[in-house]
């Protein structure tokens, strides 16, 4: 058999197996080494909430999807190549493959016992799942790994833990990626455990050679590197980027960074990463609950730190009263909500955009604050930075919405040049103003000045009770309450003047405007691009600034006859836009609440149906 090399623009590879099979690691290694060779990458882990569901069962399947190539904005809809380490993984992923997908299976796992655990009715999974058209590559991975490590002195169980490396070796062969980079990455990861490192490298190499020697597939693939801007790159997950963005802002503002938080999926990595960054002077307190998470942060803010708390939807609900204290006391605070499926405990490991209205309105009283949303794993860095800047300079809590898709997804990221980021100047009191200062004296932007304990001559009291606008003493005066309510609103509204205007991509002369916000950017952008390439016309307006909205929002949206607001909830942003703006065009919605991101395919189908 002659193996041909096919040139591709991009490809989607999905690694799947038991949640103990190491698929997340395999996927991460493959995406990183692809990025090192100049491919754009986007990844998406899809894992169960159970840490170790019973082996071989459908509920225990863990997946990791990698999209590599050029013009890659999403982890891809369906896989071009599927790695299925057991029958359950194959069954679960039938919906994620195409007619001609290359399916690589560990045929050793497809015995009667394995099929039974995955609830197959017959002994012929290919027939049963109607996979006649796909290209099945059956490799006895378990047997080959046992042979590969027969002389290693390791036990059977430990030997089989390296199965994932065999699969990685095969995939590297299939995509013509030299395995030296994978070895380098393994060295970084397992450098301190030489036995494991050696075993992994041996199996990886054997997997690669196996593919090469037996020509496991009719063709291999080559994806040319993309022209990317010069610079030093790393791959980054949304939660890491968020954590680093907070550190960058603290560094730029010359303040200590304080995180008060409580573990919650899918936000815990922010707490973990910042706790590891004690080496950069970050202070973290893992509090006793979500409420104490936000309250320790409020205390740190009162004491003059850049203070943040990280959580997901259920935690945001618990923090509401604390956030409101920061609204009333006008203290800077960054609240990161990594959204997940709700309501209640909902779908902890799955993505959704259904906390928007909670972020905007989920507090007692008139309680305006800033709401931002990141839209790619890497720009979580920029928006964590911006959230901190706005909080510090305008003395307000800022809620930054990300989601499970961004938090765990990764993309290649050019390391930022922090000297190019805007300076951060909190409105600290200064000595000369001592005589005319009062706790709620405001600057031109409507922000009160920040007097921090330890500053001589500025001792004062703040709190959750309404205060007199001039003296800062407790006040229940009706006119004063109206005034303070208006001033707090005005302060937030004023921020519209300092945020960038809304920009369009796609065809700005089109009749149809696609509107989205936050983590759906990659899918909406790809869908509008492909839609336009197919000869249709649409534009995209994607929002990162939710409250306040960019000043030109109404003007931009009213250029279009039809607007379709696409979001992973039942229409929260659409109803927000309707309530805030006088929209002339027809406002349609496309909503999905399945715990999964959009697919580009379904979006294009929907746009086509609308026109």
């Amino acid at each position: 058999m002659i193996v041909t090399v096919k040139e591709l623009d991009r490809a989607v590879i999905r690694f799947s197996g038991d949640s103990g099979d190491g698929m997340q690691l395999t996927g991460t290694l493959f995406s990183t080494l692809s990025a090192v060779f100049g491919n754009e990458i986007s990844t998406f882990p899809d894992y169960p909430a159970e840490i170790r569901a019973p082996q071989g069962t459908l509920s225990g399947v863990s997946g990791y999807q990698v999209h590599i190539g050029n013009k890659v904005y999403t982890p891809g809809d369906k896989a071009d190549v599927l790695v299925a380490m057991n029958p359950a993984a194959l069954k679960v992923n039938v919906k994620n493959i195409k007619k001609d997908t290359v399916v690589l299976i560990d045929v050793d796992a497809f015995d009667e016992n394995g099929l039974k655990k995955a609830l197959y009715k017959t002994l012929d999974p290919i027939e049963e799942l109607k996979l006649g058209s796909v290209q099945i590559v059956s490799v006895p991975i378990s047997t080959l790994v046992k042979e590969s490590l027969a002389d290693s002195g390791m036990g059977n169980k430990d030997i089989l833990r390296s199965k994932n490396m065999f699969a990685l070796g095969l995939i590297c062969w299939l995509f013509n990626k030299p395995i030296e980079e994978a070895m380098h990455l393994l060295n970084r990861k397992f450098g301190k455990k030489p036995t494991i490192l050696e075993a992994n490298i041996k199996v990886l190499t054997d997997g690669f050679n196996y593919g090469h020697n037996i020509h496991a597939s009719v063709s291999t693939y080559n994806i040319q590197p993309t022209e990317m801007p010069k610079g030093i790159y790393t791959d980054v997950k949304g939660n890491e980027a968020t954590a680093w963005g907070l550190i960058a802002a603290a560094q730029q503002a010359g303040l200590q960074l304080f995180l008060g938080s409580y573990p919650i999926t899918p936000a815990s990595e922010i707490l973990q990463e910042l706790s590891a960054r004690k080496d950069l002077g970050v202070i973290t307190v893992q509090a006793e609950d979500e409420i104490a998470g936000v309250c320790t942060a409020i205390g740190a803010s009162f004491a003059g730190n850049l203070a943040a708390t990280s959580t997901s939807g259920p935690g945001l609900a618990l923090k509401a009263e604390g956030i409101n204290l920061a609204v009333m006391a006008e203290l800077p605070l960054v609240i990161v909500d990594v959204q997940r499926g709700g309501p209640s405990t909902g779908l902890p490991t799955k993505t959704e955009q259904s906390d928007l209205l909670q972020a905007l309105y989920g507090r007692n009283g008139e309680s305006p604050l800033v709401v931002l949303a990141a839209s790619t794993p890497s720009n979580c860095f920029d928006f964590a930075y911006t959230a901190s800047k706005l909080a510090l300079e305008h003395m307000t809590p800022v809620i930054l919405l990300t989601d499970g898709f961004l938090a765990n997804g990764s993309s290649a990221w050019r390391l930022p040049d922090l000297s190019q980021y805007p300076a951060i100047h909190p409105p600290f009191v200064h000595k000369e103003m001592q005589d005319k200062w009062a706790p709620y004296l405001r600057n031109e932007e409507g922000s009160r000045y920040w007097a921090v304990p330890g500053m001589e001559g500025f001792a004062h009291r703040v709190g959750g009770l309404e205060k007199d606008s001039r003296t800062g003493a407790i006040s229940t005066d009706p006119a004063n309450h109206q005034l303070m309510t208006d001033l707090r609103q005005q302060k937030i509204d004023n921020i519209a003047k300092v945020i960038p205007p809304l920009q369009l991509s796609g065809d700005s002369q089109a009749d149809l405007l696609v509107v989205g916000w936050g983590g759906t950017y990659g899918h909406l952008y790809s869908a509008v691009q492909q839609f336009n390439e197919q000869g249709s016309q649409a534009a995209l307006a994607h929002f990162n600034y939710i409250n306040p909205l960019p000043a030109n929002t109404e003007e931009v949206l009213n250029k279009f006859k039809k607007i379709v607001v696409c979001e992973l909830n039942s229409g929260q942003f659409a109803s927000y836009l309707r309530s805030k703006l006088k929209l002339k065009g027809e406002v349609l919605q496309y909503n999905k609440v399945q715990g999964q991101p959009f697919t580009v395919e379904e979006l294009i189908q929907h746009f086509t149906a609308i026109l």
């Binding site: 790393t234 950069l280 309250c295 740190a300 004491a303 304990p453 330890g454 009291r461 959750g464």
Partner: protein, 336 residues
């Protein structure tokens, strides 16, 4: 720089709005007195409170103050202290604020041993919401929300504090200003979380709630003021004392059944083993005298100090000077 202060340096210009005769006035005085005696300026002092009558206190001291939300003052005070350990941080709270809605934060603040001075005023019910029972109300307590009496037992703040691993616990009474001032100063000096339970009278909704121990005619027989290193002797005639009998404490009379002063226990507040402290904190009149003064004052690692000690330990490991240094330690590749 000013290094000595008087009580007036810590009085604010705000009119104190507690009811005339409220026990909180006396506690405020002993706090201000203690603040003036520990040598930390008002500008370096932060007073954090929750919600309730007692939590109005920050407005009455001329320091940085934060009157926060119900039950959360412990968590907020923790944030203040950890963010800036140079500050003297006081938490002012009540029995409802601290032991009901704030119970979780209270035990964890005690457990972590944050270096704050936590003054909990206990009037046995809710005053600011006008007279409902609290987790400190005695079983059967009749109030607006328990018109037929409660069917639940109260918390004892000392039990809760010691159960959570507390290293400093003291109890004072509003009617005993001199001793309160002495205790408050030592509480302020203690490194770590010092919990001071102040038994205060609510003249409007719960007048006389502590009278079984605070009334002049019974006070000396129904309370014992504990001092480290002194014998546990009490009573109007100073002839009663505490001894250990098996696993129990026992009240004895000096001069009866061959008991001499030398048989009476000597109070060791600094002892690491808290078994006896627990028993002392648990005593209730009339069977036992209620323990006042500092029951426990032991040394232990302090959270906020250890947070910074760890920072200093970790920083040299990588020697990152900036975020960029950290970035360069990641797996990176260059596009030229």
């Amino acid at each position: 720089m000013q290094t000595s202060y008087t009580i007036n340096d810590f009085k604010s210009d705000q009119y104190v709005r507690w009811c005339p005769g409220c026990g909180n006035h006396a506690v405020l005085n002993s706090i201000q007195k203690a603040m003036s005696e520990i040598g930390i300026s008002p500008d370096n002092t932060a007073v954090i409170s929750g919600i309730g009558c007692s939590s109005r206190l920050p407005y009455y001291v001329n320091t940085y103050g934060f009157h926060t939300i119900h039950g959360r003052a412990s968590a907020i005070a923790t944030g203040v202290k950890v963010a800036n350990p140079k500050l003297a941080v006081w938490q002012i709270t009540g029995d409802g604020d601290c032991l009901a809605i704030g119970g979780n934060h209270f035990i964890h603040t005690v457990r972590r041993n944050i270096d704050i001075n936590l003054v909990q005023m206990n009037n046995g019910m809710y005053g600011l919401t006008k007279g409902q029972y609290a987790p400190t109300s005695k079983r059967g307590f009749v109030s607006k929300s328990s018109p037929y009496g409660t069917v639940e037992d109260p918390f004892n703040a000392a039990d809760l504090c010691f159960g959570a691993g507390g290293q400093f616990f003291a109890r004072i009474m509003d009617v005993d200003l001199k001793n309160s001032q002495e205790v408050m100063k030592l509480a302020a000096k203690h490194q770590g979380c010092s919990v001071v339970e102040a038994l205060v009278n609510c003249i409007i909704f719960n007048d006389g709630t502590h009278k079984d121990v605070s009334a002049k005619d019974v006070r000396e027989d129904h309370t014992i003021f504990l001092r480290h290193g002194e014998r546990m002797i009490f009573g109007k005639d100073r002839n009663k004392g505490l001894i250990v009998d098996g696993f129990k404490l026992k009240v004895v009379k000096i001069g009866e059944n061959g008991i001499t002063e030398n048989d009476i226990l000597i109070h060791d507040a600094k002892c690491q083993d808290k078994t006896l402290h627990f028993k002392l904190g648990h005593m209730r009149a009339p069977e036992f005298p209620l323990a006042l003064g500092i029951i426990r004052d032991a040394e232990a690692p302090v959270y906020d100090q250890d947070v910074y000690a760890q920072l200093e330990e970790v920083k040299p490991k990588h020697n990152f000077k900036s975020l960029n240094d950290f970035f360069m330690s990641l797996e990176t590749w260059e596009i030229k």
